[in-house]
Symmetry: C2
Subunit: 321 residues, 2 copies
Amino acid sequence: MAVYTEVPDDQMAAFVARYGIGDLLSAKGIAEGVENSNYLLRTTQGSYILTLYEKRVDPAELPFFLGLMEHLAGRGLICPVPLRDRDGAQLGRLAGRPAALVTFLDGLSVRRPGAAHCAEVGRGLALLHQAGADFAMRRVNALSVPGWRPLAEQAGAQADNVSPGLAARVMAEIERHERGWPQGLPGGVIHADLFPNNVFFIKEKLSGLIDFYFACNDAYAYDLAICLNSWCFESDFSFNLTKGQAMLAGYESVRRLEPAEVAALPELCRGSALRFLLTRLVDWLNVPPGALVKPHDPLEYDRKLAFHQRVSDAREYGLRR
Amino acid sequence: MAVYTEVPDDQMAAFVARYGIGDLLSAKGIAEGVENSNYLLRTTQGSYILTLYEKRVDPAELPFFLGLMEHLAGRGLICPVPLRDRDGAQLGRLAGRPAALVTFLDGLSVRRPGAAHCAEVGRGLALLHQAGADFAMRRVNALSVPGWRPLAEQAGAQADNVSPGLAARVMAEIERHERGWPQGLPGGVIHADLFPNNVFFIKEKLSGLIDFYFACNDAYAYDLAICLNSWCFESDFSFNLTKGQAMLAGYESVRRLEPAEVAALPELCRGSALRFLLTRLVDWLNVPPGALVKPHDPLEYDRKLAFHQRVSDAREYGLRR
């Protein structure tokens, strides 16, 4: 992981004692979450995840994320539930950092999802959209269209060192979306980062959704576009229509897409591919020399983008109408 | 951690299925053990640690370490127990590496041990020595006197860049020990690395000993000297006699030291301080540029060595006679 805060045993025990979850039995720093430090705790009552928020997370946004997880769990979604300490606070401080304790979820993330996993994720995403519909807090999606040009400018001409012509390809996409991004679609709270590493399964059954630190208010179908991008392509960047069908059918088993969403889907897939291309590109160009953490390859999303540029109808992603 | 092997979920599940410990529910890479990759697993039956041995461990030595842990656990010592797969093997292969599955131990390692912890460790160390007495396999201590000169030569004149005069100080100690290292002391299997991070406690009660990958055959009192060095100094390198008394009394509550061991203790403390000074020095001089893992400061043991050079009697460590 990129950052890691060590917490002395006595401070850890004192922190846990505030939550009334029994005596601390063990605490293991886990290699999960590049952005934050995470510990898997066992107490006499159960297992929990302790997160210390490192500098890439804005502390002012934590009440939204923690409040959302509590709200979603209260509506029956399987996600980590932030615990409240004896003063009723979800957010504490430990080792000089904002810190929170959440329930532990069993499950494994799948490296190579099959169609059954995609169906489960589609269904789980729709359940998340339903469960979040009456959440009172709001958070703007900082990584939607208005955020893309500044990212491209940060990468600048260096983009062409990653792949020839990339800077121009990216700028043409940004201009297109700035002109004609779909507006007025049904929306609410979206996960915005539901990649395979953020979904747990036990066998082929979804057992939990994690990592809500990109959650925000945006179009529901944009969240689905992010999932089509991150679950339904093969490692050679070919699109697996069977997986797309499974995911879309899973989603629609809970919430049917409206005609405007269906019409917008190719454009939303194209935009979400650009969004991950841009953030990965900036990370890729900013790796400190000698760093042990290898960033994700931005070109994976350049290839996916090329696929979406040739799509004109949601049926090409597997939507059955 | 320095090295980390990622194991795909399907390979992990297939590996675990060989051990008859139920279905895999979760697997978290843990930030423990600089030398190997470790995962904390939960199955429908319990919790386990999966270790993938990275290149610093010689696979030919693994049967000694795994056999020892099984032997010690069978004698009642609280340590990880290596599981045997359906073919009776303790050692498997996973993601191209030798791999073993051991039982999980609850407990936390203490950052600032008190006298009560030192008493527990002294007692635990003596129990380990008793439990290992009839273990049939043998392993030479590669980091005893004959191993020190090659380490000093590896550091060479660069030692003086770490601290002026260090190369000469180290060489004088090596020559002293090559001439007069205590011989013929009672011995058997020793842990050889029982630092605070390798001992778990629940409250002030010892709950387990881990990390047997330096275990070998050597003098019991040398193991005690290693513990006096790693548990009984304060952060300003002053020796805490109360902790020394507690540790020695704890040890002798199980196994009384013989007169020859008592007489040799100052020399053994001096030698074990040199041993950790040397390995830390070599690691310190070989950090790859930009590495995220900071090696231990070798000068901590230079300071401890200076303390031992002025000791002439085991009573100065707190032995009551």
